[in-house]
Symmetry: C3
Subunit: 434 residues, 3 copies
């Protein structure tokens, strides 16, 4: 009477990860009955069973942004990242590649690494000292008298890891989606000038938002709410996402300024041979992406009150501060701003159906000196404030989704990228459940 | 295999608000097997599915006390009240009436008003500035380029609001119970002399009790436990709820004092033309009520250690402090004490199956001056202490209901009003489920 | 479609304590499919339904260690102990026996005793003063006018209590397992020399571990992880649980020291007539037990850095400090160390599927004087540190069990007592469900 959702990773723990057939049928119907052009039905934001499906069908099957190269530059450096019930170790190996290992000891199930970041040689579980190589092979376990114990059967379970242009992605699926490499080829030329391997972490912020991860993503995909971001609106044109004819009266002046700044930016990019065109396939491919280079207001350099640079050191081989921001959105859990003086990465890690960790990381040139080249408070001010404002917004939506009178509302034209995210989500889950 | 409980307000979010047919059948059986004269079976106090039913069948279908006039005297004044997953805006409109609106923006579901009390003109959602009139009509939403967007379809969902004798009630049902107006006609003459529209809020206390809302209500409906309220017993005769022949030995002296005081009070009421008779239909009508005027001990004026007045200003046109208390109980969530010098209102707002907000509000004459006419500490002392004692009592009961060995215990004769509350509750839910 | 697990104690609260038939079938299958020699499948550590079964089939049906005589020496002394949703009063009666009563008032279900320890005459519920004799009989309830109220029907529900060698056990089953008395006869001669009735509580520590109770027990049943207990390893040989041929290289020297110390200890025990042999029937009887007397390192006297005594007063009639530790393990929830100078008892009280209370009690001779005969900090240091280390270990395992990729891992030979605990657990539940 109960069938498992397809969960190749765990053949035993059925009760924990399967859903009763009836419940699965109800959820499948909810997906089918989805009202296009509208936000999702309440259970998508509140139901633990749908969260479980999200973890398997989205986070368990797709390439997920985990960290940037600056977080694990040297062999042995690692970060641990958690998605719902999963915990992964992302480790720089001796060949400069990235190993991704499930952080679950094969003996008694203990977390092997307990810090969120660090550096290690072999991986030693703190409970009974089972010791794994950086590749996850069990290389030592005290087992005197054991005649049938075959260490080769007890390596840490592995997932896939890839690095492109200094961004590290992981995938827990047996067969990761094939089109991710294509997507990487699209974004690499945009990112290359910023030379992420020559950056360092200036600051990392982890905030827990009391909302479903999809509300966090929806909020990121539109600037219809940008009146609520006064600090951000100083530099990021709040007309983002609008097109000719969709500009509200109070933003017309901003629109004109943006148009002029964009034209100047594009001319500058042409001069330097830096790509700037919009590439957008948010829901028309598995590895959904939007990327473009967009002008900033004021001095056009960075996320400051007057648009002026926040770090004196240019990234990579860039020769001009006035390069606006290269903005990238990746499905399902990340977005990025690549500026001439710094980079901000955002990674969304679902905790449960109503809590989400948002990790924001500020990167500067690896030779930039705090205090001399940049002021940490000023560097991080705009996005710290913006994140707090966004946290408040999505938490108000979560409260609303809990109400029995909530019903899906219409997305506006300027929210078409929110709709693209939802379309992508619905397609991806439906394909997985099929 | 799964049927919805009748939920007219939400045609889409089925998974969140419906119960599987089997579970509904089990719960229906629990209602049918209820042991009369006894407390309810454990699941009524512990089961989240029954809480969901309570929210729909009781709080979703009946008139609920929300606030008194002193909390929103002027046009634009509002309070927000939450029952379980519901959030309502209760707003004084320009005509002096009360608008009740679901606090869920029709765009993306955000809470529109985020404060528990305040004053506003139009209602502006903080997320995307959708703007609603005080009647809930969507009067502004930036929607450039939208050709099919009909604002008239996206007003805030409305509920019903009524004000009687200065008390404000809300009802979320499509068709509110018809007999509430009758009940209001019963209580209005009792309350009129206290003239609530000429009071102000002296203090409001919100406490969260770790217990099911029905345990909170049961506790209020009897004074069998009044030995546990030493401060209250100074002025409120702990023989409350007893009748001739049910008085235990240790209360006989109190009973005699009460009898004499009651006779004197009734004479005084007759002189002033103030009603005092007991009217009691707690489980024989949908809008269940008990009201009467009852003497107080000591000076007979107020809830103080010696029964003496706590505010020097008489309410309304009253000309005598020695008028005891007009006591009113309304199903399902409120009780009141109307005294000559102040009023105390109690509203019970369920949070979930094991947590309940109890809101206590002290009202004094609007021209009474704190410090001169009343001492806030003294005014609130008795019920603050009593509330804490009651919180401890109901939390002990919740712990007991969690035990697998708990079984319904017998109500004593002096607890007949507890039984009336439970009878009312069971009848109302059964009628709704039928 | 829904059947109850056999729950003789509660004939009414079905919804709270039964499981749907399908779910029960799935769980039964999980028990049947258990991989021998391996840790359990994830749901055993994470699923609330299996926790409910554990409470009924294990804690509801077996003799459970509750307290030692020093915690309730005098008539009227009591402790309250909670297992999951159960709360029990364990009370010393006037005859010197132990009464065990469910801590749920038969009137409205309130907890009767609200302190974890104390002394009382009759038991008076604080809510409505229903008064019970120490045997649980209702001896007073104010009930004027009640004609049908029969006090004899409303005594506190009783459970069974027994005391052996100063240890108090409770059992909630109608018919407690018959072999417990046999088990008591086995351990009494080992404990008698320590004369628990002549001890006092020096300190009691309650810590909550964020892990399923079975992970807490598993952790206790092996010393494979004892490298993680530096303080303990000073006196308790970390070769515990090993046998000839299973000793890892780095412990060979310790093993030799242990062998010599054990031989000397046994000679000493023979001289004094104190039993020391290993008796082990951990999964071959209902009242599973392991008991033995084992040498300690260093001076061989106590749990100190050099093995030297921690209290100057010998327990009972002992005449020698160098008696190592008598170690006892009882299924399902306790372990003990009886030393010549003090005793440490450990009781595990499950809270829910992912939280467990561990209560550790240090007993010294009743005439030992703190400051003179023992230093409290030194007395408790080793096990306080060890408990914290163990808490960290089991919490890492709980996190792992939550991961969908967790799968049961192999127990090593030195973990055979862990396996015995799990075997016992599986057998006991399967028998109950059958």
């Amino acid at each position: 009477m109960s069938v498992s959702v397809n969960l190749p990773l765990n053949s035993r723990g059925k009760l924990a990860s399967s859903l009763p057939a009836e419940q699965l049928a109800e959820i499948t119907e909810l997906f089918e009955n989805r009202l296009e052009g509208h936000s999702l039905d309440a259970p998508f934001y509140t139901d633990p069973a749908i969260f479980k499906i999200d973890m398997h069908a989205i986070f368990g099957q797709h390439w997920i942004f985990a960290a940037s190269v600056a977080e694990l530059p040297e062999p042995g450096d690692y970060v641990t990242v958690d998605y719902g019930p999963y915990s992964l170790i992302v480790l720089r190996n001796d060949e400069g590649g990235v190993n991704v290992l499930h952080n679950v000891c094969r003996h008694r199930g203990a977390r092997v690494l307990t810090e969120s970041t660090g550096s290690t040689g072999n991986l030693v579980c703190g409970y009974h000292s089972w010791t794994y190589s950086p590749e996850g092979n069990l290389i030592h376990a005290s087992a005197p008298g054991e005649t049938k114990f075959d260490k080769s059967c007890f390596g840490l379970k592995r997932a896939h890891g890839r690095e492109y242009a200094g961004l590290i992605f992981v995938c827990m699926a047996d067969e990761p989606p094939a089109d991710f490499e294509e997507t990487a080829k699209i974004f690499e030329p945009y990112l290359a000038p910023h030379d992420l391997p020559k950056t360092k972490v200036a600051y990392q912020q982890n905030i827990i938002e009391e909302a479903n991860w999809k509300l966090v993503m929806e909020n990121n995909r539109e600037c219809y709410h940008c009146d609520g971001h006064p600090e951000l609106a100083c530099s990021l044109f709040p007309t983002w996402g609008l097109t000719e004819g969709l500009v509200p009266a109070h933003l017309e002046e901003v629109w004109d300024r943006n148009t002029q700044a964009q034209a100047a930016l594009e001319k500058r990019c042409q001069r330097y041979g830096i790509p700037y065109e919009v590439f957008e396939e948010l829901d028309t491919r598995v590895a959904g992406i939007r990327i473009s280079r967009e002008s900033l207001d004021g001095d056009g350099e960075s996320f400051s009150p007057d648009g002026h640079r926040l770090s004196k050191k240019l990234l990579g081989d860039l020769r001009d501060f006035r390069l606006g921001r290269c903005s990238m959105h990746l499905q399902p859990n990340s977005w990025f701003h690549f500026l001439s003086d710094h980079v901000v990465t955002f990674a969304v890690f679902p905790i449960n159906e109503h809590q989400t960790l948002v990790r924001t990381t500020w990167l500067v040139a690896d030779d930039a000196v705090e205090g001399d080249d940049y002021d940490l408070e000023k560097l991080t001010h705009t996005w710290k404030q913006t994140n707090l404002q966004d946290k408040a917004f999505v938490e108000l939506c979560q409260a609303g989704a809990n109400s029995p009178v909530y019903e899906p509302g219409p997305y506006m034209k300027s929210e078409y990228q929110v709709e693209a995210f939802i379309n992508w989500y619905v397609q991806r889950v439906q394909e997985h459940l099929a």
